[in-house]
């Protein structure tokens, strides 16, 4: 649920044109066309979308890194295009490309950044919390992807911000770093930080986000808590919750028309590989297994899965590759 407090970030009808571009005969390209969203304190708000959907442009307009072409942005009650150092001191930013000088060493760099703030997060604490001491003598250019992301997160947190922007935070993270970073993000959320992240990974959104905006082709096309999005119906008329998918493998070409209710979607994704999706009930499972028994079918494998955010995302933004 969205809290009644005023949001830390509120974007209304954001428009961003870039160009003029030679590839478009000197015309402008509209990369964001009407995104609206809000982010609250103590919540992780995710912008989920494919690469090129306009997520980064949207949050860069919120950070004041890009100037919007239309719409309004309010970050902690201020317009990022005109706000000054006071607002920037309350907002932490982790860029997609890191933005750290390649020749720098982690600790002097963090100390330098912390020096820009009056009440920074103690650098020693950040170093310990993000495991930076294990690579403190290595220059940025020699760090692994995971180490670099952890350092970039520490740099974003150096000012002890109220709002934290993370652009693709799990890019390049090894499983250990990912665990560390996700744990910290959850703790920061619980401490009351308003966290806005972009991701193209459903798994990130599913694990971290309290509220998700699905961005597609420069617009937000769906929003809700992860649970709400998962409960969206595959077909608008099925009217039921708790969509699940039963996957099983057996011999190709099975025809079980009439075994399951019409609202349940049955498809043979590959030869012999079946996906049964819908608001499945115990009765549906009983009917299906009874039909297997009657036809002497023993599946090679079977699994029951809750519908994933990925399915929701693909249903909304289409399955074709762009």
């Amino acid at each position: 649920m969205r809290s009644p407090d005023s949001p830390v970030l509120s974007i209304t009808g954001l428009i961003k044109d870039v160009g003029p571009l030679a590839s478009l005969d000197g015309k402008m390209l509209r990369v964001v066309s009407g995104v609206s969203l809000a982010a609250e304190r103590g919540q992780v708000t995710a912008l989920l979308g494919a690469n090129g959907a306009g997520k980064t442009t949207t949050i860069e307009c919120a950070q004041g890194l890009q100037r919007r072409s239309g719409g309004s942005v309010s970050l902690l009650g201020q317009d990022p295009d005109t706000a000054g150092a006071e607002l920037r001191s309350r907002v932490g930013v982790m860029l997609q490309d890191g933005g750290l000088p390649p020749s720098a060493r982690p600790i002097p760099l963090l100390k330098h950044i912390a020096g820009m703030y009056r009440h920074p997060w103690p650098v020693d604490e950040l170093i310990e919390r993000l495991g930076i001491d294990t690579f403190s003598r290595t220059t940025v250019r020699r760090l692994s992807g995971g180490q670099r992301q952890r350092l970039a997160l520490a740099a974003a947190l150096a000012g002890n911000p109220e709002v934290l922007f993370l652009d693709e935070p799990s890019a390049g993270l090894d499983p250990q770093s990912r665990q560390l970073v996700f744990q910290l993000i959850s703790e920061l959320r619980d401490a009351g930080m308003g966290i806005v992240l972009t991701t193209h990974l459903m798994d990130d959104a599913q694990r971290l986000a309290d509220y998700v905006y699905i961005i597609d082709a420069g617009r937000n096309v769906a929003e809700g808590t992860v649970a709400q999005l998962l409960q969206r119906n595959i077909s608008a008329d099925s009217g039921q919750e708790h969509v699940r998918t039963l996957l099983f493998e057996s011999r190709p070409g099975l025809d079980f028309t009439g075994v399951l209710p019409a609202t349940v979607d049955v498809r043979e994704a590959r030869a012999g590989s079946y996906a049964v999706t819908g608001a499945l009930t115990p009765e549906d499972l009983a009917a299906l297994t009874a039909w297997w028994a009657a036809h002497g079918i023993m599946p090679g494998s079977m699994s029951l899965e809750a519908r994933s955010l990925e399915d929701v995302f693909l249903d909304i933004s289409g399955r074709e590759i762009r």
């Binding site: 150092a85 890191g98 933005g99 000088p101 950044i113 020096g115 820009m116 703030y117 911000p161």
Partner: protein, 252 residues
């Protein structure tokens, strides 16, 4: 985790001083930059002192050479060194990241200017010390105009360096600023006075920032005079390059 979130910016001056110190140390730790800033100017100084290239120009070899070498130092640090580092900072998103901190874009530029001035001061001290050993006798009255001119020259070359760094790829910045350093250093009226250059160059270099700075510094240290015309030319370069950099500098 229980913590009170939220901070406030450190005072503006402190932010700029911090950035200036950080950038100056980064420049001095970079081997190539150090060669460009200190080693090559010193080699040029010694070279001009032991060869007859500058004979007959109204002063001892070292007296004619030092003002040009100091002008060369300003060009090394403000144009080539600072241009290259800004170009690569831009490529790696460092400018974008720092502009999201309380430092901001103006603080970042101010920090760069401060770093250029700090490194330039160090160059003046090192070159000056070596020059004195080589027998340099500057006119005492020349110091005040010379220091003003060095700062103005650094401003003009910083603006030009930022203009290049902010508009082309960093590899191109590297090529352009190094090539211009060599061309202007040899033929730009900076080390070799205009009257020793071939015909067409002789007239042209008065209007270049290199020629204007070299000429004005020689007038200051050799005669103790203030060259108003050359100063005006440096001011114009600073104004136009600064305006162009503000207009066309791309942060990403």
């Amino acid at each position: 985790m229980s913590r009170v979130l939220g901070s406030a910016p450190a005072p503006l001056l402190r932010r700029i001083l911090l950035q200036g110190k950080y950038e100056a140390l980064t420049m001095l730790r970079n081997g190539e930059q150090l060669i460009l800033a200190i080693v090559l100017p010193l080699m040029a100084l010694v070279g001009l002192t032991v060869t007859p290239l500058l004979d007959g120009l109204g002063g001892s070899r070292v007296d004619v050479a030092v003002p040009g070498i100091l002008a060369l130092c300003a060009m090394s640090t403000a144009f080539t060194g600072q241009g290259i580092s800004t170009g690569f900072d831009r490529r790696y998103g460092v400018l974008r990241f720092l502009s999201t901190t309380p430092l901001g874009r103006t603080g970042l530029i101010a920090g760069k200017i401060l770093a250029v001035l700090a490194v330039l001061l160090l160059q003046v001290l090192v070159v000056g010390a070596v020059a004195f050993i080589l027998g340099w006798h500057p006119t005492t009255a020349g110091w005040a105009p010379a220091l003003v001119l060095l700062v103005l020259g650094a401003a003009a070359f910083t603006a030009l360096g930022l203009l290049v760094a902010g508009t082309v790829r960093p590899e191109a910045t590297l090529a352009i600023t190094n090539l211009l350093w060599i061309l202007l250093g040899a033929l730009g009226g900076i080390v070799i006075p205009a009257e020793r250059l071939p015909g067409p160059a002789r007239e042209l270099v008065h209007f270049l920032p290199s020629g204007a700075l070299g000429e004005a510094l020689r007038d200051a240290f050799l005669a103790g005079t203030f060259n108003g015309g050359a100063t005006l030319i440096l001011l114009l370069w600073t104004a136009f390059a600064g305006a162009a950099a503000i207009r066309w500098f791309k942060w990403n």
